[in-house]
């Protein structure tokens, strides 16, 4: 029984992300108020100070937050002086590709980075090469060109501040960021 529930949950989550059934974008809870101003007087005679809600905004599949949840945090790390995507990151690329193929309106920015060795401007070039390697891998899996932008930060946005090989390894990376 537990196993069935667990499986059902996984499937449900998977369906939500994969977007198989068509569901309305807006949740049907427009009637409930989101917040009541903290110091609103309870005296009903004060006109115009009753419960207020802001506009309902989309939530669930097809929204920016779902794209963000699916894509952000995906990082591919690289070996020194290399732009090849190592086999241990194939899965990351595939998962991202599936998500993007299933949601043609979603967009991703691939942010390429290097470790700090070498000149700053040349490292911009190396970071761009890494973003492009991931871009090509996504496109090979059917992601449309228009869904992808690349940027290179070279060595300018290190993930780790140290100056040893351990820090270098954490900085040689491409990060995926979902774009609104």
């Amino acid at each position: 029984m537990k196993q069935f529930l667990a499986t059902a949950m996984i499937v449900a989550v998977g369906l939500t992300l994969a977007g198989c059934p068509k569901k309305p974008a807006v949740k049907d809870n427009a009637g409930s108020s989101s917040t009541v101003p903290a110091n609103a007087p309870s005296d009903a005679s004060t006109a115009g100070n009753g419960p207020q809600t802001g506009p309902a905004t989309p939530f669930g599949e097809g929204s920016a937050s779902a794209a963000s949840a699916a894509l952000s945090g995906k990082i591919i790390y690289f070996d020194y002086d290399k732009i090849e995507i190592k086999s241990e990151y194939t899965r990351v690329v595939m998962d991202a590709a599936h998500v993007l193929v299933a949601h043609p309106a979603w967009k991703v920015r691939l942010e390429g980075n290097t470790d700090e060795r070498g000149t700053r401007e040349y490292n911009i070039g190396l970071g761009e090469r890494r973003s492009q390697a991931v871009r090509r891998a996504l496109m090979l899996q059917g992601v449309a060109d228009g869904q992808i932008t690349t940027v290179s930060y070279g060595e300018e946005r290190p993930a780790a501040e140290g100056h040893d090989e351990a820090a270098f390894a954490k900085n040689r990376r491409v990060e995926m960021v979902a774009l609104p």
């Binding site: 060795r117 070498g118 000149t119 700053r120 040349y122 070039g125 761009e128 690349t150 946005r157 100056h163």
Partner: protein
């Protein structure tokens, strides 16, 4: 003698630096020249009870920091002449100084001052020079640098670069709240002024030839764009925000164009020239390698740049006029990048990488292959010539902190410029 001098210079510098020492750069001499010329710069006199500014101290600091002079400690001066007629030369010969500088700072009227100085050869009593500079209060420090420049040129035979400015990037804080600042300061680090500030990276400051503007790369919109900012007005213009890479701006000698690095859709970096007036864009390189870090030749007809078309980064030169193939300039080692030519275009400075790290090297452009590695740090980069071509400023690391450093082109004199609170990097030295 040297340690005492160093200590007194540091104290003097911080005292002069004044209250607002935020991101103040302080000069440290790390290696002076063994045959530095002894010179006595006597504290200047004044018709006022106190001179309005300690010109002699700034002159002494400038000449000492060049490594070519060994200024006498004030405490060792047995007399304080303020004009040639008052100098008792035998006394100064006993103190073993080769030259003596005397002078005065006198008010002319409510707002103006007169700096007067004379330089004498102690051994033969010859008067080398004497000049007068008129200045307002705010210009007394600049006037002092100009005095140092004149003395330096007279004795060494090379123009001084003390009355010049540098730009650099200062970084404070840690992710996610790092702060990047583009700063302009005097060449000795005094008078830092924040030109631009951002929570996203700033890179590659480049002085316009007239010294009125800076081009730089800003990631303020999370992607790179190139801006040109006028220093006096603070007005800035975004000159390149094409999709992909916008990097490495370099001014043409006439100040009308920028060479820069752009990328194609599939990420191929190449060098282009942007006409700042007409906005026309001309492609310079077209090959699958990374082509970047351009710098113009003096005649505006060619660019020097970095390319890894041969496998690893090397330095090339390409004519802008004809469709000639690029000429490769560096052949030693597997990593040579970030070219900068000397003002007279006889030397090429660049970053060279080997097993022991990244260093600054210099190559004689006339005699092919004559390469000298000038520095020993592991992370030395961003070399830039002083406008007199005698010294290079570059980025270095001192115990994991980013600092600026200077090295004479013969490698014999080395200095560090250390910030009081920031990591500093990417220096650029303004032309005269």
């Amino acid at each position: 003698m040297n340690k005492k001098l160093l200590a007194s210079w540091l104290v003097a510098l911080t005292a002069l630096g004044g209250g607002s020492a935020r991101s103040q750069l302080v000069v440290e001499i790390t290696q002076g020249q063994a045959d530095a010329i002894p010179i006595a710069i006597v504290p200047f006199g004044s018709t006022s009870p106190q001179p309005a500014f300690d010109v002699a101290q700034v002159v002494s600091d400038d000449l000492g920091s060049s490594g070519r002079f060994a200024p006498m400690n004030r405490k060792d001066m047995t007399d304080r002449p303020t004009k040639g007629a008052d100098i008792v030369f035998n006394d100064w010969r006993t103190l073993r100084t080769d030259y003596i500088v005397v002078g005065q700072v006198n008010p002319i009227d409510a707002t103006r001052f007169s700096i007067v100085f004379e330089v004498f050869n102690v051994l033969n009593r010859e008067r080398l020079m004497g000049f007068q500079i008129t200045s307002n209060q705010a210009g007394l420090r600049l006037g002092s640098h100009q005095v140092a420049d004149m003395i330096y040129e007279k004795i060494i035979g090379v123009k001084g670069a003390f009355a010049t400015r540098i730009a650099y990037v200062a970084v404070t804080g840690h992710a996610p709240s790092k702060l990047y600042r583009l700063i302009v300061a005097d060449a000795d680090g005094a008078n830092p002024r924040i030109i631009m500030q951002s929570g996203e990276p700033l890179m590659s400051p480049a002085w316009s030839p007239d010294g009125q503007s800076l081009a730089y790369v800003s990631f303020e919109n999370r992607v790179a764009a190139i801006y040109v900012q006028q220093l006096k007005s603070g007005e800035r213009q975004r000159v390149s925000a094409r999709s992909g890479v916008n990097q490495a701006p370099a001014w043409s000698p006439d100040g009308k164009k920028l060479a820069l690095t752009l990328s194609s859709r599939d990420g191929n970096l190449d060098i282009y020239v942007l006409d700042l007036v007409s906005q026309s864009l001309v492609r310079v390189t077209d090959d699958p390698g990374i082509d970047t870090e351009p710098q113009w030749s003096r005649d505006g007809q060619s660019v020097y740049f970095t390319s890894d078309r041969a496998g690893g980064p090397q330095i090339y030169k390409q004519s802008l006029q004809r469709g000639d193939p690029a000429q490769r300039l560096t052949f030693q080692g597997s990593y040579n990048a970030r070219p900068r030519v000397s003002p007279d275009e006889t030397e090429l400075a660049f970053v060279t990488g080997d097993g022991s790290g990244y260093h600054i090297a210099i190559q004689d452009l006339k005699r092919h292959g004559n390469v000298q590695v000038l520095t020993k740090g592991r992370f030395d980069e961003s070399p830039c010539f002083a406008p007199n071509g005698a010294v290079l400023i570059y980025s270095s690391r001192d115990r994991s902190r980013g600092v600026l450093a200077l090295v004479s082109t013969d490698g014999r004199v080395q200095q560090r410029l250390v910030s009081t609170d920031a990591e500093v990097r990417e220096p650029a030295w303004a032309a005269y």
